[in-house]
Amino acid sequence: MTKHKAIEVHNLTKRFGAFKAVDDISFEVYAGEIFGFIGANGAGKTTAMRILCGLLKPSEGKAEVAGFNIDNQSHLIKENIGYMSQRFSLYEDLTVEENLRLYGGIYGIPKKELNPRIDEQLQVLNFMDSKKTLVETLPLGWKQKLAFIAATIHRPKIVFLDEPTGGVDPITRRQFWELIYQAADSGITVFVTTHYMDEAEYCDRVSIMADGKIKALNTPKQLKIDFQASSMDGVFDAIAKTSKRSEI
């Protein structure tokens, strides 16, 4: 793996009043890797992700995303990242094609280029028949896969996935991860948060957050050795035991 850095975070802190949501974290994400960002609810991972995406300003610390500073180059960062959340996937009252066109349009991809790109992606997923279907009629798993296509239609350098497989059945989750592998193979860096520990095993490297701090960061294999656990579940439990705060 080339050790070119896609994300660099130095001593990042975010305070809300006296509460430190993110407490002095530092880490690096290498270009082309699948980086798992794991933690219980309330551990601070969403806040950290929002800072990296330019939605929040950090209280202290520095970070570079895709080679740009989050302080004053957020507009350049925006052009180079994609984002997908579990909460919202696609506009339900628009068709599959309209949704993808909308996201392509936001990034100013010319029509000539956009249309074949959409067709190509839909063919990979065998979704061509549903091109003109309203999104609301599709099953959740399909929606999530389409949302992933929408988030990467402009071929960003980095894609942020915020619990992308929440509420999806295991088979679709597996298929979704194949999409993630494909994206990583094509050179997109993947930054993904998840609740599912089996998914943590699929990542190249995993960071585990608790109480606003990064408690562990390594390859899944090394983490299991360090924590003497047979699975990532065991690693997570060992760390979670020591954590003081978590939202129910």
């Binding site: 929040l56 925006k78 052009e79 959340s85 919202f88 628009l94």
Partner: protein, 355 residues
């Protein structure tokens, strides 16, 4: 710029694919004009009246005929006894009656609606007074009253209600629809996604507001046309100034919608805020249904910050009184001021939320 149009298109799709919002946007204004214009009217027309003790060839006969011939009254029947007259009132057959005595004429009015009762009495006394004067011009009545009704000589309620409804409908559509649609993006989480994207927040906001601006203009035209041709409300002033004055009000309404959506992330709250917070004051405090002059002082004060009040006042002046720009300067200034305040507040709130 291209992004802007892509988003405008998206917004129109949202509106047109939602059957109910299409109906609300396009049919509600028409429905309200027709309802208020025909159904709920305070004007007096062909009130049924009865008479008692009428003598053949008497003056009374002449008076009754005069009344029947006017647009305001219609003779229902002549009643033989006081009792039968009372029964007719109770049955709702008549709302007004004239009782001829030996020396005086008694007027009886159904005062369940006191406003129309006093109007009926005033009209009837007018007709009777006129009759006596024609009979004997040499005698001047003790009180000679001459009422001249300005701008609305036939006392049509629609003259009052049509500008009122336009003021209400435009605010309803612009503020309510736009605030709900922005709140929807926040509630669904798509707003966050859009803010992370390359899209500029200003482009996003403007592209969300433009469709509602266009639709409100459709509504403005449809209500004006219906009001003028169906309800025969005159357009005495210049059409251009009426439209320009309305555009200002539209922009103000949209900025109110923006302000509401900057306060909340929930569609329901946005709906309630624009519904209860906007529509109610407009109906109660704009002078549409209740005259502001008769209200308690505190409500009169409050009515001053209701934009619809100023718009409706101005529209009446421009449309029905046929006045020009110089006569609506006060309304214009206040609307401009409210617009600036709402826009500044909402943009400020929008920005701080992104931090």
């Amino acid at each position: 710029m291209k992004q802007f149009w892509i988003f405008v298109k998206k917004e129109f799709r949202h509106i047109l694919r939602d059957l109910w919002s299409t109906i609300i946007v396009l049919v509600l204004p028409i429905l309200m004009i027709v309802l208020f214009g025909f159904g709920i009217s305070s004007e007096m027309k062909s009130t049924a009246f009865g008479v008692l003790n009428i003598q053949e060839n008497s003056r009374g006969l002449q008076i009754v005929e005069n009344m029947d011939q006017s647009d305001f009254f219609e003779l229902k029947s002549s009643y033989p006894t006081e009792q039968s007259l009372e029964n007719a009132f109770k049955a709702g057959e008549i709302r007004f009656a004239i009782v001829f005595g030996k020396e005086q004429i008694r007027l009886i009015a159904d005062a369940t609606d006191p406003n129309s009762a006093s109007t009926m009495v005033a009209y009837a006394s007018g007709i009777i007074g006129q009759f006596f004067q024609n009979q004997n011009p040499s005698i001047t009545p003790k009180i000679k009253s001459e009422i001249k009704l300005l701008y609305n000589p036939s006392l049509k309620g629609t003259y009052n209600t049509v500008p009122g409804i336009i003021g209400m409908v435009l605010l309803l559509i612009s503020a309510m629809m736009s605030s709900v649609s922005i709140a929807k993006e926040k509630e669904m989480g798509s707003m966050e996604l859009l803010l992370i994207s390359k899209l500029k927040p200003m482009t996003l906001i403007l592209s969300k507001l433009l469709p509602y601006f266009v639709l409100s203009n459709v509504n403005l035209l449809s209500t004006l046309i219906l009001g003028h041709y169906l309800l025969e409300v005159p357009i005495n002033g210049s059409l251009i100034s009426i439209l320009l004055f309305s555009e200002l009000y539209l922009l103000l309404s949209l900025s109110i919608g923006l302000l509401i959506s900057s306060v909340t992330d929930s569609q329901l709250v946005a709906l309630l805020l624009s519904g209860m917070g906007m529509i109610l004051p407009v109906v109660m405090l704009s002078g549409l249904l209740f005259p502001i002059d008769n209200m308690p002082l505190i409500l009169q004060w409050l009515s001053n910050i209701v934009p619809a009040k100023w718009y409706i006042d101005g529209l009446r002046k421009l449309m029905i009184m046929g006045l020009g720009w110089s006569d609506v300067i006060k309304e214009l200034m206040i609307l401009c001021l409210l617009f600036t305040v709402c826009l500044t507040l909402s943009l400020k709130r929008f920005k701080t939320r992104l931090e």
